[in-house]
Amino acid sequence: MPPQRLPHPASRVALALLGAVLVLFIVGPLLRLLLQATPASLAAALADGELRGSIVLTVLCATAATLLALALGMPLGYLLARSRFPGRRLVQGLLDLPVVVPHPVAGIALLLFLGRNSPVGGALGRLGLEFVSHVPGIVVAMLFVSAPLLASAAREAFGAVDPRLERVARTLGDSPWGAFRRVTLPLAGRGILAGAILAWARSVSEFGSIVILTYNPKVASVLIFDRFTAYGLPAAVPAAVLLLLVALVVFALVRLIEPRERT
């Protein structure tokens, strides 16, 4: 469709002004923070062993959470896209629930569910899997907030693949798994990958639930909060800059992988 001309020049100016306010509001603070990234301050941040360790921990936990989300979210996404079962709409609605649950609330809920005094947490604890104030707690908190994103992305990506393509593959000799691997997955792969990167980024940026479940060892966002409350703004900035750069790289990746609207 050709772009439509707005009727009044005055209304165009008004829309442009209001739009500009929002764009500046997003770009301004981030730019302000990036300007702090002088070579000297970055060098100092990279020399900070605790900060380096916390970023590595964040990236590793986010990667683990994303892999878990892939392993659990893809099957659920496929099921939701392909089969009609009782309670399907309910499950679909539940996937959207974590978006509306405030993250500290999610942290409290996870703490109650996985704490050593709960049946589930107690049982897993006896198997040697500790969550509270342990690395698995970070992964679980990240999984809780990011897995629904991935499952929804997978559901949409699988839903966009016509089931008749799988049927054709079956008549051409493929087993159900073969048809999935050779047809469905390649066609849905891009959308699922974009969902995975989104889930990863969501995990890296998580704070509210992690701070309640596992304050130590500190992920990057908790460390930034800790430095800020203990030593003030100047101490928090180098860590914030570094985390922002990691987030921007991921953002660029998502934009590269996302299916383009035109072509």
Binding site: L172, G173, D174
Partner: protein, 354 residues
């Protein structure tokens, strides 16, 4: 050979019930029916994609009812092609060969062979997205044929292409079938497909087969008003049959059929409410009263004329609307115009009671 025994399937809002059909080895059968009569569901059931409520499916003598689709050896072509968009034309055609134990050169040879059969060699390295509808359909047929399936199942293969391509593809399908001799079952809503392609046609209505036989036979002797209308057999009138003479030894009698203001004489076997089918070419038009050897001599008025190639369709009012088909030459000789009076002659035996 395809043998369906009492097949019943339910898939969403479509259901087919108690379908029995025998397609001999090398035969070409068509199941025709209006949209929503369950045709695609029937084909998917033969391919093994949807569970059966009842019935058995035999392909080439083997009972495949309990086999998954990949073990049935069927080639399937959908109306909207359903080519794999992430693969080239070559990889689409070769899809069913990729698992075979044949060496790569053998697979390449088969791809080239099938592409040759459908005259699409020049498209092999193209992406699917840059093919016309007719080209896509050729690729879909080639893909289905490449692994040498036992039977070929075609779901409205001609419905989504333009009329010129349809005529050409139809001719090619028939030629391909004659060359390859593969047993084929096609579903369609177009009776022209059945007349031009099939050895056998089955008419599906609301999930059941209401008539099956040779296409010309079904066209000439539809067994119900539904089939007559669906195959376009001509004038279908609802009315009532009454005795007009003695019943002979074979149970037949002279009768009158009345539909509105129109009454014709015919030979009947039963009386009461009925439909008659009168083929347009059996209505003989003349300016003067027809000879008395013709049982039915009716006066009518021309409503409008429609030229269809060498034939003119004359829409008449004879108490009931009737359509006659005459040559363009006859139409000119009679000087027919809308509003002209005209005589209709009709043999009693040309009226089919259904």
């Amino acid at each position: 050979m395809i043998r369906l025994e009492g097949l019943s399937v339910r898939a969403g809002e479509f259901a087919v019930r108690d379908i029995s059909l025998d397609v001999p080895e090398g035969g070409y059968a068509l199941v025709i029916g209006p949209t929503g009569s369950g045709k695609t569901t029937l084909l998917e059931a033969v391919a093994g994609h949807v569970p059966l409520l009842a019935g058995r499916v035999h392909l080439q003598g083997a009972d495949v009812t309990d086999l998954p689709p990949e073990a049935r050896g069927v080639g399937f072509v959908y109306q909207h092609y359903h080519l794999f968009p992430h693969l080239t034309v070559r990889d689409n055609i070769g899809y069913g060969l990729a698992r075979s134990r044949d060496a790569a050169p053998e697979r390449a040879r088969r791809i080239a062979e099938v592409a040759g059969l459908l005259a699409i060699e020049h498209l092999l390295d193209r992406s699917i997205r840059r093919l016309s509808g007719g080209e896509q359909q050729r690729v879909a047929i080639a893909r289905a044929l490449a692994p040498r399936p036992r039977v070929l199942l075609l779901d409205e293969p001609l419905a989504a292409v333009d009329p010129a391509t349809r005529t050409m593809l139809r001719r090619e399908l028939r030629a391909l079938h004659e060359r390859e001799g593969i047993t084929t079952l096609q579903v369609t809503h177009d009776f022209d497909d059945a007349l031009r392609l099939g050895d056998l046609v089955a008419v599906l209505a609301e999930g059941r087969i209401v008539q099956a036989g040779r296409p010309e036979e079904v066209f000439r002797y539809p067994n119900s008003a539904f089939v007559a209308r669906f195959v376009g057999a001509g004038n279908v009138l609802a009315g009532e049959v009454r005795h007009a003479g003695e019943t002979t030894e074979d149970g037949r009698f002279k009768a009158r059929f009345t539909s509105g203001a129109l009454t014709v004489e015919l030979v009947a076997e039963r009386d009461g409410p009925a439909h008659v089918v009168i083929r347009p070419e059996d209505l003989l038009l003349s300016a003067d009263p027809p000879p008395t050897s013709l049982r039915n001599r009716l006066q009518a008025t021309v409503e409008r004329l429609e030229r269809l190639g060498p034939v003119t369709q004359v829409h008449l009012d004879a108490g009931r609307p009737l359509v006659a088909a005459i040559t363009n030459q006859t139409a000119e000789e009679l000087g027919l115009r809308p509003g002209s009076p005209v005589w209709i002659g009709l043999k009693a035996t040309a009226i089919l009671l259904v």
